[in-house]
Symmetry: C2
Subunit: 392 residues, 2 copies
């Protein structure tokens, strides 16, 4: 196990009706004038926004609002938010929505306190030195942004996706009410589930040895998703399954399952180019990329792939031919993704094989990239070619 630091100071408030406590927690964490940031009209239609505003008003907290965050949140909306937050002198950003909305809120929180253009802080490794506090009312179990210090923003000009990460971006509180996710369509629910599983796999495939405790914690989240996801696809109003998935999504990405080990993240990087170019859902892109990445890399550590195949996918270990077990696990993963309605190849995703060189090039790999298996641009092309034609 490698040395590590783990710090997850977010206060999580989980369960039914908890959005009505938003005002109380903004007050507790020092907010007196809030920018409420949200995405689509669904938070308006469902009355969620109204309930949140009411809870702020009950605490005597002033607020302004900015909606319209899109999936793969854009730099343009962030700039709008920064300008508004500065003009209105807000001291707290409250995100009401899913991962895109939280990421956009974090970008505004950092941008308000940064003298230059906020985009300087994305993809450059520049340290974020100050940010307004952020709170969240989560509506989609997926990105894990409600418990992480990460934010991913897409630049409108060229659809370039870049990220920033800092403990200062970790939400002060996150309100998680699984009921709010019950209205999500099956496709988005499955995209979220895929994203959650991907967050675990990116950590699971490691070159660090002797990390049983985090291996087992990773497997715990994966096993939960394998059990609960088909239940919500079959019955969107299943509160208990929604609840298990929602907490799994947070635990999958606040790094408690990933500390003390090298991680990979190439599947996410490759997928960012897909959703950047085609504006497809992140989870859908991951469903296409990740099993193909696994096929390409499995010989790097067959026993690790056999381990997840037996422990998570219920495969019998082939002690004579562990590679058969490893491959069987990958196939079950792809079949699982397909069974919950995810695309598994380019055609189903709406991607073009002819774009493969462009997609690989856009990653801008200088030499190699990734933690588990170092990939060249040619390797990424090879993975995308597997992905293009994948079948169950």
């Amino acid at each position: 196990m490698d040395n590590f630091q783990f710090y997850s100071p977010t206060e999580f408030v989980f369960g039914k009706d908890t959005e009505n406590e938003a005002g109380k927690y903004v007050r507790k964490h020092g907010g007196s004038k809030v920018l409420i940031h949200y995405g689509s009209g669904s938070v308006v239609r469902t009355g969620l926004l109204e309930r949140v505003k009411k809870s702020l008003a009950a605490e005597g907290i002033a607020f302004v609002e900015l909606g319209g965050v899109k999936p793969n949140p854009r730099d343009t909306k962030v700039r709008e938010g920064i300008a508004l937050a500065k003009a209105e002198k807000v001291d707290f950003i409250l995100s009401v929505g899913g991962g895109s909305c939280i990421d956009s809120s974090k970008a505004i929180a950092a941008g308000v306190c940064y003298d230059g253009d906020f985009w300087d802080l994305y993809g450059t490794g520049l340290e974020i030195e100050k940010a307004l506090p952020v709170g969240t009312v989560l509506t989609i179990a997926a990105a894990g942004s409600e418990g992480s210090g990460a934010s991913v923003i897409t630049r409108e000009d060229g659809l370039l996706k870049r990220d920033a990460c800092s403990d200062l971006l970790r939400p002060r509180f996150s309100i998680l009410n699984p009921e709010l996710t019950c209205t999500l369509p099956a496709y988005q629910t499955a995209c979220g589930a895929t994203d959650i599983m991907a967050h675990v796999f990116e950590r699971y495939f490691t070159n660090t040895e002797e990390v049983e405790v985090t291996d087992r914690l990773c497997e715990a989240i994966l096993l939960t998703m394998v059990k609960e996801t088909p239940r919500v696809i079959a019955d969107p109003n299943n509160y208990e399954a929604r609840a298990n998935i929602m907490w799994a999504g947070t635990v999958a990405h606040n790094d408690i399952v990933g500390v003390g080990r090298s991680q990979d993240w190439n599947s996410h990087c490759i997928e960012h180019e897909l959703s950047g170019l085609y504006d497809v859902a992140h989870g859908a892109g991951l469903a296409v990329v990740m099993p193909s990445w696994m096929e390409f890399t499995m010989n790097h550590n067959v026993m690790r792939f056999a381990q997840v195949a037996t422990r998570v996918w219920g495969c019998q270990m082939d002690f004579e031919h562990p590679e058969n077990t490893a491959l069987a696990g990958i196939r079950r993963f792809r079949r699982f993704l397909s069974s919950i309605g995810m695309p598994i190849n380019f055609e189903q995703l709406g991607a073009k094989e002819s774009d493969i060189p462009l997609l690989a090039k856009k990653m801008g790999i200088n030499g190699t990239t990734g933690g588990f298996v170092k990939l060249t641009t040619a390797d990424v092309e090879a993975i995308l070619r597997i992905a293009a034609k994948a079948t169950v």
Copy 2:
């Protein structure tokens, strides 16, 4: 799943040589004059105390020190610490030791800020309203106190064990260097491992339905302990096994594996009377109590016991007679405890069967107690009678 709140703001610093950063973290968390609190002479002999002092001095942080914390930490030492901390006007308590030392440090931290006798805050449910910040340098993987808001103190007069709990008692930072645990004798190591497993089992046995994610997280910690504990007993210097156990111990008790579900805690309550009366190690007492508690309560939910038997203990499920599987799991647990050198009955623990009525009575049960199965004083006596004569 029940509604819950989860808040674990402790900054964990994990790995080799991390004790040398103690000064840096005291500074970061606002300390300028520190009470270093420690237990036995081993932290002196190993040079650990010296390294910690050096790291404080390097940051220009003043300190006073108070050693002599005993296992099952006493109110008398706490009072000594409170008086010293007040006289020296310290603003930070730094614990260098195991769970007893941390619990004593937390009691001092709360007591310094409380006008009356600190004992008022223990076992009464009285809310702690203020406490000095606490940091820890952990030397034993066991109690989980490094990541929890709990503190258990024993009153010298009558050996009464009582606890207090508050988010204000959660350590600001905890430094976890597995190397520091390599010098621990096998018996204490096994006691710690038993305590860690017990913290999970107290959460695992719940009446809340549909809690797959926390079930799986609990099992992840148990599986880790089943794998790693025999390795450290066989080879005390196995850093990797020590590291996995140490992080498992923290995760087992900061409640990430226990949120959103009712918990039990009767085994701990019963054990507190054993270690209170005989001054035996907490883990040793738990090894005697817990499997006997399981035998007594298993019919309350046979399928839950069968689940842990198959998922953790590797038992084959007997679909015709699930109770056989449940019982097989309990037997494997007791055999596991015995194999790592733990006592499993009264004789091995040094307890007396004739004390059973006294032990049960000392719990002071008013009606019933516990979360999974409500126990009367007579039930506790029955459990202790099973424990008295248990065999592998």
